[in-house]
Symmetry: none
Subunit: 122 residues, 2 copies
């Protein structure tokens, strides 16, 4: 599949999947083919497929659920239309605040559970 145009394979696959998503060929809520299937379909290695899916994941077009699959997100929640410019700053501030608070809780929890071995092996 991945044609030999200077464009890297993982970008070609990401482009193709993105086009399918935005073109409606892959509807929201539906899972992408598995990594192995995509690798087979595009005649690429698992690594490049994982890189391509990682890009879409980073773009928010798609959300991966470990053990289940990678699902197309709803177009509305994935791409808020209109002027979100004003909300961006507030969102960023909120996220920053949450990050700091969560990090503190995590550290507290880590130090308090380090003595007693809770939930380590399987």
């Amino acid at each position: 599949m991945v044609r030999n145009t200077g464009r890297p394979g993982y970008l070609q696959i990401a482009d193709d999947l993105r086009a399918q998503i935005q073109g409606g060929s892959l509807a929201p809520g539906t899972p992408l083919p598995s990594t192995a299937q995509l690798a087979d379909r595009y005649d690429a290695s698992l690594s490049v497929v994982k890189m391509a899916v990682g890009i879409l994941r980073n773009e928010g077009l798609v959300i991966g659920q470990q053990g289940k699959g990678v699902f197309v997100r709803d177009a509305d929640e994935e791409r808020p239309a209109g002027d979100e410019q004003a909300d961006l700053a507030e969102l960023r501030a909120t996220v920053r605040d949450l990050s700091v608070r969560l990090a503190k809780v995590e550290e507290q929890l880590a130090t308090s559970t380090s003595r007693r071995p809770g939930r380590s092996s399987r």
Copy 2:
């Protein structure tokens, strides 16, 4: 460097570099340390550093020149006006990460305070 907070190393490095760029510590036009230097500084493998740089590259914060280095782009010129796609992607990734981390913390708290650390095996 990359602390064991559950957040993947390549995201931690990307976050750190992004913060340095947006904080002015890495001025536009200046090159990032080389891949090898970053790997050494963050005590990470070359692969995760390359993934981290790839994210910033994808976000348009940085541009790589083969054979020379990876350079910080000018924050104003780098992005066509109105293209907050990268901002949104970044925010979404952060929120997703926060959700996962919070869920883990919540479960740790639940299992350590109510039950014995057996953690419902399924």
